[in-house]
């Protein structure tokens, strides 16, 4: 019996879209918008839209380069095996060129339309994610999530700089908040999702340092995040709407993290505290930035 196998069909445009990881891009766009709105200076709506578009396209380019580099690893993991490259629906050269085109194009458009400081920071964020995180650190250190979190922290900084044209303390604080939020967010997920990172040689904290160390570090980062998230209020960058919101949201985050940090999972455990912490960590970040924007709109 013969089985017909199509040779290389042209790549469908939906696979190019999938290469940009649209779901990840939505958080990038949200925090980028918050950075623009929270900034003290106003920017023309068209230029604000263009800045967000560049941040999104840059994130898409970095994601495409990430998948180009990790095609072999993705093929070895159930969660990623159906992606365009490991499944053979796209060839690696196409993916690489697509990623480079998006990255370069977004930086150029940001520079020409908005400003070169924002464009430089966007370029740094793309290199940070595609090279420093993906190629250099992810395969080598269980702290990869901590460092990789930096890539997700750039958008509000870029949005703020796009609006104001300068780097001040406030956008750096927004960057730091997301940077310290990322480890508890991802490690809570890693505790209850048996990912096969270990099978493809990616050192994830729960696998390399063990669950106990992971739980303690979740608690440590959450404890650091609380005062850090209130710093914008303390330095006078926001009003009390944000300050009180950050306190309440942070206390809940800390309580859930303490519950996860101080317990051991038994066999057959439902991992409910970990799932609740992960779910809350998503709500936390959206609510915190929404409070930031609300506070700004009230102050305006």
């Amino acid at each position: 019996m013969t089985q017909s196998v199509s040779l290389q069909l042209p790549t469908d445009w939906r696979d190019f879209l999938a290469l940009t990881k649209p779901r990840v891009m939505s958080l990038v766009v949200f925090t980028g918008i918050c950075g623009i709105i929270a900034a003290p200076e106003r920017i023309h709506p068209v230029l604000a839209f263009t800045a967000i578009l560049c941040i999104a396209i840059g994130a898409g380019g970095a994601a495409a380069l990430n998948q180009w580099w990790e095609a072999d690893l993705d093929a070895g993991m159930k969660r990623t095996a159906a992606r365009p490259l490991p499944s053979g629906r796209m060839n690696t050269i196409e993916a690489r060129d697509f990623g480079v085109a998006l990255s370069v194009g977004s930086v150029l458009l940001m520079g020409l339309a908005i400003g070169w400081l924002a464009a430089v920071i966007l370029a740094i964020s793309i290199v940070y994610y595609a090279v420093i995180y993906t190629i250099w650190l992810k395969p080598r250190t269980p702290q990869n999530i901590v460092i990789g979190g930096g890539a997700g922290a750039f958008p509000p900084l870029i949005g703020w700089v796009a609006a104001t044209g300068e780097i001040t303390l406030m956008p750096v604080l927004l960057f730091a908040i997301i940077f310290f939020w990322t480890p508890p967010h991802f490690w809570a997920l890693a505790l209850f999702v048996k990912s096969d990172y270990a099978k493809v040689g990616i050192p994830m904290m729960p696998v390399v340092a063990g669950e106990r160390a992971t739980r303690r570090q979740i608690l440590a980062y959450a404890a650091l995040l609380l005062p850090l998230s209130m710093a914008p209020w303390w330095v006078g960058g926001t009003g009390s709407v944000y300050g009180i919101s950050a306190l309440v949201l942070g206390l809940v985050f800390l309580a859930l993290s303490a519950r996860v940090g101080l317990r051991e999972a038994a066999d057959g455990d439902t991992m409910k505290p970990e799932k609740q912490l992960f779910a809350w960590s998503v709500i936390y970040l959206f609510a915190l930035f929404a409070a930031l924007v609300t506070d700004r709109l009230i102050l305006a």
Partner: protein
Amino acid sequence: MTDNLPPDPEEISRIQRSRNNVLGVLLGAFVVLIFFISLAKMG
């Protein structure tokens, strides 16, 4: 036994046509965006 057959020409042209349509829309949107950016920068 697996026998590699040339891809179906109709499938190829369908994919290429849909790709070209999407590319056309994106380029059109890009032109409109540049127009409005120009207005904003001149404003």
